[in-house]
Symmetry: C2
Subunit: 344 residues, 2 copies
DNA sequence: CTGAAAGCGCTTACAG
DNA sequence: CTGAAAGCGCTTACAG
């Protein structure tokens, strides 16, 4: 954009304080080897002059940036804004700058964003979106991240990726199992799943958990309608409409995230379907509003903000020889949207 | 952090392509004055080598960064994540990097964040939090922004601030008036307000709108209990409890944002208070989930994502001689949480 | 403890 | 159309 007019520079501070720029630099960065009185004087002078260091110059000269990049699918989605909130909490605390961008579930966009971040000499990258079941889709991103790591960059991902990076692993599989078992134990036999794209690892893992629960009762996932739609509220609406149309006999719906569950509840409300009287509905994630829905939503709680904190914390540690994994727990929040299967 | 090992630099590309770094630079930035064939060759070479420009060096040499800063109170709040989503939409489109940070309703934190951004040679700053009624609280921020603008930086704020910057002005006053009139016309005489801190301009403006509606019916704001609490869901709970305890006769509650309204609904549900049968509840903002609450929330719709888009769009335009203001509209979304005053 | 100087990786007048 | 060179504002060996 426009060329910036010159502002106060280190050389101005040094001149004003009557020292060399080397001493001025050391005083301001807190490098030792400067007498306390001189350092103090320089700092005061800088303050008086309203000096702020040019981070680009510092980065170029010193090789550090103190900034980390955060890639989310869509910040308007509460799942990601909670994660982002956790990341920002730690970042503020560590005086780190955070760059944020959308990937929109698109591997090509993700790759472009990673490249931009690398170009920005970012210190670390956190990828918070779901991975893809097909490793080919992220092969380019993977190559980019490997070279980034090789040059000293740090990477942490949230969720299962084929990116060979430190990872925070949400308890998707076990969570899926818990919620399915909950419904099965309430007597539900005809369960449908409002699912996001099965190409996403998040979706695949949650489905795998549901499958495990079914298996333990001698049933198979293949016998359960899994309706794929967008991993959003609108996707939930689409899935709900389809379930109503094609599988009118279901007594329970598991939505694979809370956004979809909200869409399902919305359609059911519109169509006058009683929840949980006629159909039980469960979600996944436990975004803050889940307990304020009516009926309040039974869902699998994942510690989103905590996951953001963990990811950044991992990224700040020196790289290990092999990728670290940190699993989160989950808890099934049983609320009002699920109940025993009605027997009439 | 750690010093980065050297990666492919422009000089490597130039050597490989057999041209000077000046020509290589021009080819890559698309500056004209390079023969098409040479430029093409350089670009291909760069691609082959996986070259990505060092933005810090570019910034230092050229004075541009292509990055903008976004300051929100808290990204976990849907109001701000919607705004951020709008900002990111435009930013992606314009190939701009976005730095994001929390201010947490704290003027000092805000000031520190602004300074960091200025130090980062950011091209533009967007402040999305509410302003403060007391101009003194942001005097330092204002000074910082003025000097930032003087040196070529661009600033846009969302909401009323004493910052003398381009502003997107949410329709807070008119919105407050609309929602109050809605309730008054439903026959409600005893209305309480679940309010955020009155020191925030957002709160003050919404209250002013409510006051205008009351005045037009010959009533005064002073006669209405305005319960101040945190501008969050928890604050809404606190306010609701207080209203129930101290003003048990109210028939309607206006919450000054949707987060507070959700808290109010939550308490009312717990206490078994029928909405809108016993008490009507209205919010402000229309976050996406508002229509999915039960009862669905009557609220003032503000185009949050659009506001984010507008703010960045303004910031990208060359500065005008005097601050521009762009007002948004609002619409009252009448849903199920408000109804006529019960007459028994 | 302090300073002169090299160098980080680019862009952009300036000259040809 | 192309290149040699200066310079952006810092940090950090290297000398003293």
């Amino acid at each position: 954009m426009t060329r910036r007019r010159s502002v106060t520079r280190l050389v101005d501070v040094a001149a004003q304080a009557g020292v060399s720029i080397a001493t001025a630099s050391r005083s301001l960065t807190g490098t030792n080897g400067v007498s306390a009185s001189v350092a103090d004087h320089v700092r005061r002078t800088a303050e008086d002059l309203g000096y702020v260091v040019n981070l680009h110059a510092r980065s170029l000269a010193g090789g550090t940036t103190s900034t980390i990049g955060l890639i989310v699918h869509e910040i308007g989605d509460e799942y990601f804004s909670e994660i982002a909130s956790g990341v920002l909490r730690i970042a503020t605390q560590q005086e780190l700058t955070v760059q944020i961008c959308h990937s929109g579930h698109d591997p090509e966009v993700e790759l472009a964003q990673i490249r931009t971040m690398v170009a920005n000499q970012i210190d670390g990258i956190i990828i918070a979106g779901s991975g893809f079941v097909d490793p080919k889709l992220q092969a380019m991103s993977k190559a980019e991240l490997i070279s980034f790591r090789r040059s000293g960059g740090r990477v942490a991902v949230i969720g299962r990726h084929h990116l060979a990076a430190d990872a925070v692993l949400p308890d998707n599989r076990a969570g899926g199992q818990s919620v399915a078992e909950h419904l099965l134990s309430l007597g539900h036999q005809r369960i449908a799943v409002a699912s996001g794209p099965r190409g996403l690892t998040t979706v695949a893992d949650r489905l795998a958990g549901i499958e495990a629960a079914l298996r333990s009762r001698g049933r198979r996932l293949e016998d359960v309608p899994v309706i794929e739609a967008a991993f959003t509220r609108d996707g939930g609406k689409v899935a709900a409409a389809k379930i109503l149309g094609e599988h009118g006999d279901v007594t329970a719906v598991i939505a694979l995230n809370d956004a979809m569950a909200i869409g399902v509840l919305s359609i059911f409300r519109t169509r006058g379907i009683k929840v949980p009287g006629q159909v039980s509905v469960a979600g996944f994630g436990d975004i803050p509003v889940a307990e304020d829905l009516a009926p309040s939503l039974t869902t699998v709680r994942l510690p989103m903000a905590k996951m953001g904190e963990l990811a950044l914390t991992m990224a700040l540690k020196p790289a290990a020889s092999r990728p670290r994994r940190q699993t989160t727990g989950h808890s099934l929040m049983v609320r009002d949207s699920t109940g025993p299967v009605s027997t009439h």
